[in-house]
Symmetry: C2
Subunit: 524 residues, 2 copies
């Protein structure tokens, strides 16, 4: 069949060829009937790595992980409205990570929609709630151009959700050839006025907080931020959740804005100026009775040095130069090798083990939730690594993020740090990890509870929660057995109950290539 496709090409082939021509080389998919022509096109076209996922929440979480590491969009391929609906929780996280994706949703044939067949829903309306750009490609002659527009929208710095809806008849009808790639827009240079405004914040009586997010958390811009902090005494803070933080030994020391309100308010006490670099001014993740929403003094002046789509590195470099900090010595993390702990597992001991054993250039996909708050601070001195966190608070992104990061960077070890409750929202990702033989070490923190909610219950003012309320936060009846769950999807694993066992098994796993799961029993 390959020989006769050049002259006659259907809409699906035109679309796939256009994606490949623009450098969109990965498609995370769970296709159905309306997407069969797209699937068939894969046989004729080289250059598209199609990754099958057993639930759509894996597709968009993986696309997010891919974008965070590659800085260019993957595509998804979703089955009608329900497929899109299943993908939305992680589209939310992807959006909040300021990542980009070309989200392709199959649709009924244009002439079939009027009949309200059982899978019909209002796909454009659903898509609009989580997309920056939505278009239904209603003409096979335009599908290639629509695709170029979608890629362009997805690549708009810092990244956007572009949803292209593809009716089945457009996919199967004869179409024009593929369209050529458009050059991607660059991160914008900020005007001199922004540098000036930020520079003015540094007065003798000021207390300046520099909030960093998006690309400002990469090694180079962080180095500039570190110089500014060294010169001025400004506080550096990463957003509470951010897409990708380059950290570890030799990199600028930075903490995340604490999740608990009390911790955040302590960090920002007395702050007079907040300089935003690819970040928002800090607000509470949730409201609590009698507590503020804003996590900084309301009278503080907010100065945007660089929006998320701006060139943060250039802006910070110019600011450093403007205030004479270019030669200052930033505070860098030194390599720490804490004593290897023994005995019962605690967050601090996990931190010590990770600090020792995280491989150089590891990619950490972190959805540790409660357990992770305890060990982030203990891993600043690990070997240099990238830390990807849950950006939108929609749990169930950790394992899919690991999939996407591992597809993006096959030569780097991916370490998935995964809370058990959150992990159950997208455990299907484990099958894709096995299927693609991705180099992922999965650590499950098995506290057998929605542990975060036990704190939140008190936080929102509920004292003395009774048995029925508590039971809604407990996952111990029956306990989940992650070693069996992983085995059911083709990944080997082991359960550990002590720090020394974790250290041994984790050390082995990160030295080997390929998938492995470790369940850490934290329930005792």
């Amino acid at each position: 069949m390959n020989d006769v496709t050049e002259k006659t090409m259907n809409g699906a082939e035109s679309l796939v060829r256009t994606l490949v021509a623009s450098g969109v080389e990965v498609c995370f998919t769970n296709p159905g009937t309306s997407e069969m022509h797209f699937v068939a096109a894969l046989d004729k076209i080289e250059g598209m790595h199609c990754v099958l996922c057993l639930h759509e929440t894996v597709t968009t979480g993986a696309a997010d992980g891919y974008y965070r590491m590659m800085g260019k969009p993957a595509s998804t391929l979703l089955h009608l409205g329900p497929g899109l609906a299943n993908a939305m929780a992680n589209l939310h996280n992807l959006k909040r990570a300021r990542s980009g994706v070309v989200n392709i949703v199959g649709e009924h044939a244009t002439y079939h929609l009027q009949h309200d067949a059982l899978l019909t829903s209002d796909i454009p309306a659903i898509a609009k709630t989580m997309s920056h750009w939505v278009k239904t490609s209603t003409l096979q002659t335009n599908v290639a151009m629509d695709c170029v527009e979608a890629i362009s929208a997805a690549s708009q710095p810092p990244g956007q959700v572009a949803t292209l809806i593809l009716p089945a008849d457009v996919a199967w009808s004869e179409a024009a050839g593929p369209a050529a790639a458009k050059p991607a827009a660059a991160f914008a240079q900020v005007p001199e006025a922004s540098i000036e405004a930020a520079a003015k914040a540094f007065k003798a009586e000021s207390r300046v907080l520099i909030m960093l997010g998006t690309r400002a958390l990469r090694e180079e811009p962080l180095l500039q931020a570190g110089k500014i902090a060294a010169k001025t005494g400004a506080i550096l803070s990463a957003e509470v959740a951010n897409g990708r933080l380059q950290r570890g030994a030799g990199r600028v020391a930075i903490e995340r804005m604490p999740y608990p309100i009390s911790g955040a308010l302590e960090t920002t006490r007395g702050v007079t100026h907040v300089i935003l670099v690819g970040a928002k001014a800090p607000v509470a993740v949730f409201a609590y009775p009698g507590k503020p929403s804003l996590l900084y003094p309301p009278e503080a002046e907010i100065i945007t040095l660089a929006a998320p789509g701006d060139d943060a590195q250039d802006a910070l470099e110019r600011l450093a130069e403007r205030i004479g900090a270019s030669k200052s010595t930033p505070l860098l993390n030194s390599r720490q090798r804490p004593d290897m702990p023994t005995g019962a597992l605690t967050p601090a001991k996990i931190g010590a083990i990770l600090c020792n054993l995280l491989p150089d250039q590891a990619i950490v996909a972190d959805e540790s939730i409660t357990t992770g708050r305890g060990f982030f601070k203990d891993t600043h001195g690990a070997a240099p690594h990238d830390w990807l966190s849950l950006t939108g608070g929609s749990i169930g992104e950790g394992l899919p993020l690991a999939v996407g990061a591992a597809i993006a960077c096959p030569d780097r070890k991916v370490v998935s740090l995964q809370a058990d409750g959150a992990g159950m929202f997208s455990l299907q990702a484990i099958w894709t990890i096995a299927r693609e033989q991705l180099d992922v070490t999965i650590c499950i923190w098995a506290n057998r509870a929605y542990a975060i909610l036990k704190g939140e219950l008190v936080g929102v003012g509920v004292e003395n929660a009774g048995k029925r309320a508590q039971s809604m936060l407990s996952l111990d009846d029956p306990p989940l057995d992650w070693v069996k769950l992983a085995a059911g999807m083709g990944v080997d694993g082991v359960r550990v109950t002590s720090a020394e066992a974790f250290a041994e098994v984790f050390g082995d796993a990160v030295r080997r290539k390929g998938p492995f799961l470790i369940e850490l029993d934290l329930s005792s």
Copy 2:
């Protein structure tokens, strides 16, 4: 605490008390921080059975199963926009089943929304895409009345999706007491003109198709339809997918409209009149190149005897009387006891075993997809049972349906007939089945493929699919091990590879109470 709640009551308690007062006694939930006051209210209030689900797709699928069996709505409790998004695929199925649900979605505190905290999304816009009724309860003094309105909307025959959005501060602020229940609206009696119009269809030269859906598929209205068919020679057909069909020995023999277009067109060949009773005129689930969307002769007259919200039994009874069919003898299924098969498992052998062994009054939650097409016809002669099917085509409803049906009818055996590919979309339901110790026997058809798509690929015109396309439809690398997956969530199971082994294990499982899983290896 219980003693002091009568006079001071927050919005969440007012809401829960109102639900219970109106007979909404079950809540399928996966709560988060913004829903903690609702959870806390459960401790103070008797009468609400709160069922924890580890992914929101389980909550709405279970609510659907519950409504199908109880005819009254359950509630859900979902965490913000992402929780709602995760619930939507099964809300789609629930809508298409014409079921009702009081879908409660937590929201940020009203004053917190403006800050665009990381979990913020446009919940009303998301909700509107899958709901008949949406309201944000912005005042704690009105929350009880808003809840009554939601229950009323959910109960509107035949059933609706009512989404009530509950801001956290409304939940935690002092509220008025609960509101009293409103009587639920009844299924409407159809006007005499509808009976007349339908009666006129039966002429010597007509060929009449009676399409039955919603409540028309219960035993009593089916009996009336059977009399009409016996008298007139009309063809009876259930919709291709329907919420609840009462079938088995002693009940009217009825087939579903075939899923393949060719089979459907054969059923409707020469039809001059289509009488709709709680059903739509049949249309293809998908469009295929060169094939029609309508599954009946376009010149046929369509007559609505009863809409889904009308009283189908009354309408059919009056029609039978009007045409003199009240004393006709309908064709009833006789009890069949086919020989018990042996050897390799096939759909026909599975059908024979189910026909013999399905317990009297079993509830079948059917998401068999490809495998099931082969054995439906073989089970007409089983003991009387209820058959719940996948109504919206959004796969991943079978196991959640089983949860809801088992909660609704604790004294009846629930049999989940589950395709493996579809099952992976909501396998988390197995944990809830274990947690609640529901009386569910789960049969997994492990063909290790999206087998339906292999046919669809050909159906949409793709011949000679290559390796890459085929690999998108295969689940055999690695194979899923459902016995391990179930064990990981606390349900025992066994794998069988022969008809005699299935018969033995299934027979044992349905005789015992409680959860059990059987994986049928159909891959060879």
